[in-house]
Point group: C2
Chain length 378, copies 2
């Protein structure tokens, strides 16, 4: 087996799993109970909160745990809009946001919220001048992802943050495809709200977080308890939160060495792939990119057929965003980047991870090249 | 240590944990990916769905996995109200629902939704005639819990269901404090929507489910993907869902023997407790009750002090709903049951679980009795 779908999900690291295990059947109290046994669970949650805060250079009290990136994005979008209704009802986003940003906005639009989608360049990066022009008197929220979820391009977050700050508008950044992989210090980025998903950086599925800068107004999505300072009710997923904390700690400590490895893997994979299929188009920004991503379009093949053919050989990649893969919808990201319908159809995402070796990256390129050449009758 | 706080959370059973483990680091694919490796994760989720459906006597396609009971209750309340806005804006609930029902309704009330809270008898059971009278032309939802979350009384669900069906009103039942413990076949109960929480029946925290009968209208709370048939976006918490499935399977298989044991434990505990503190008041219905619950009021003591004193001896109980315990609010449940302020202050919940022995149940009563007598200066 050769797994190259790390942007869809990552395995939980052994150290992460080990820290989670006692919280299933030994330290299983509800952290909200008032007795001493519950204290151990509560402390574990708070230690994890410190670790996630540390990854972002934030304070622990600015971290809200959620059930994952989708919930955190929904909470950010709906929560900011609900909390700021009296101030305005206009939201600015990039045209290449994830569905967990776009769909909540579509629902809010039915209630009178207006949304401006700002275009991107050929690398999928939002046009900052266009974004600035889109801002109105009644704009209450700007939301731009940190790394694009399909092609991995890093967005000009600092520039957007400066504009948002100047105008006094809340700025949310979806960091699901970046957090725990590339540096994301919230002060440096200048964001007010930032989304993280643990299973994207070797933590467990079913847990995520929202960084919420002090003073940012937000109403809860899941109500009915005072957990997470009232921003998110429900018994805490203690093992999941502990796992996210450990994964964040490791990500912070090993970030540079992991990035170096990923960049090397990516370079090697792309070089080899271009030898195999010289006419392939490498999508995403050439340098400002999350190095897990190698998103490629090849004219004359169907991405999904390549996925299936490689899968039959035990090689696992994807042809698009997993959240909508089974809906078989064309990618709005690639369309916004100006790719032709043929190149959109012929696109595939090879994603690299820290357990992968350079030999595997090369093998991945060779095997994919072989399948693609065969499919094109070459 | 003597744990008697099983209604706040239960330990994950060894068989449950064992089934979950491979999904952290072996079968870690995103179930939505299109390759064969993802198929294993997807099949595991679907098998768990079958098991949860089986516990309820439902079909697998009627089960929506969530991050827990709180999310499921919020989804039910907000989702039904949003989906039925055109038909009406009135909701009927009992006065003793959990905060994850009450708080969403408070938010909806700010948007013009009207809520009627129906009173309960001295055992905390909703007054069915009063409920029937509360129904209006524009009533779109009735929500009554299966077992009360503080005293354990079982509500007259079938009677409420008949009224709801007659009037063509969607009926939601919060089963967090009953599912997996007492029989809950949805056809028999007659509910349209039913909430479950895995960590309340020896499954993991961070996962729950909503039964949604075919044809019931509901809008999603977390949007942005086609997971859970579009009712709940976000990468599935595969290990958590697998754990919930196994816990449901075991609960279904062992329900009768577990109930028998719990009834025995409860009887023994209460008999012994009344010998220790003869003037204690046992709350909740004498027979129609989830036998995990032994909710007791004693005049002249503070429930929280008893919790703290027992905690210092390694005995863990609770004085109220853990979701609000740290907010130190007086219980709206006990107030609705007509308890005096003094008895509300002096109330405590001993909750029993399948790992407990009869000797432990007796010891629990003796130790609590000793603490209470000492606190009352007796």
């Amino acid at each position: 087996m050769l797994y190259a779908d790390y942007t869809s999900s990552t395995p939980v690291l052994p150290e992460v799993k080990r820290e989670m295990l006692p919280y299933f059947d030994e330290l299983y109290a509800n952290p909200s109970s008032l007795h001493d046994f519950a204290l151990k669970a509560r402390r574990a949650v708070e230690e994890a909160r410190e670790r996630v805060a540390n990854l972002l250079g934030a304070s622990a009290e600015e971290i809200i745990f959620t059930s994952g990136g989708a919930e955190a994005n929904n909470l950010a979008i709906k929560g900011v809009v609900q909390a700021n209704k009296a101030r305005g009802r206009h939201v600015v986003v990039s045209a290449v946001e994830h569905y967990s940003i776009m769909h909540p906005l579509q629902s809010l639009a039915r209630e009178g919220v207006q949304v401006t989608r700002v275009g991107v360049d050929e690398h999928g990066r939002v046009r900052v001048e266009e974004l600035e022009q889109a801002i109105r008197e009644d704009t209450i929220l700007i939301s731009v992802q940190h790394a694009n979820h399909e092609v991995g391009s890093l967005q000009p977050i600092k520039e957007v943050a400066e504009i948002a700050e100047e105008r006094g508008i809340t700025f949310h950044c979806d960091g699901v495809s970046s957090a725990g992989v590339v540096p994301a210090k919230v002060e440096e980025l200048g964001v007010d709200i930032y989304t993280l998903s643990a299973h994207r950086f070797y933590g467990p599925k079913g847990v995520g977080a929202l960084y919420l800068a002090r003073g940012t107004r937000l109403l809860p999505l899941i109500e009915g308890g005072i957990q997470e300072r009232g921003y998110r009710a429900g018994t805490e997923n203690v093992p999941g939160i502990v796992g996210m904390g450990k994964a964040a700690e490791l990500a912070e400590k090993e970030m540079e060495s992991r990035l170096e490895k990923l960049r090397r893997l990516r370079q090697r994979f792309i070089a080899e792939f271009l030898e195999e299929v010289p006419e392939a188009k490498i999508n995403g920004h050439p340098s400002e990119v999350n190095p897990m991503y190698a998103h490629i379009s090849v004219a004359g093949v169907e991405g999904e057929t390549v996925v299936a053919e490689l899968s039959a050989k035990g090689i696992y990649i994807t042809s698009g965003s997993p959240c909508m893969a089974r809906a078989a919808k064309a990618s709005h990201v690639l369309a916004a980047m100006g790719l032709s319908a043929e190149l959109i159809r012929g696109s595939m995402l090879f994603s690299l991870g820290i357990p992968m070796s350079e030999e595997e990256a090369e093998k991945l390129a060779r095997e994919a090249g072989e399948v693609i050449r065969r499919l094109r009758g070459g």
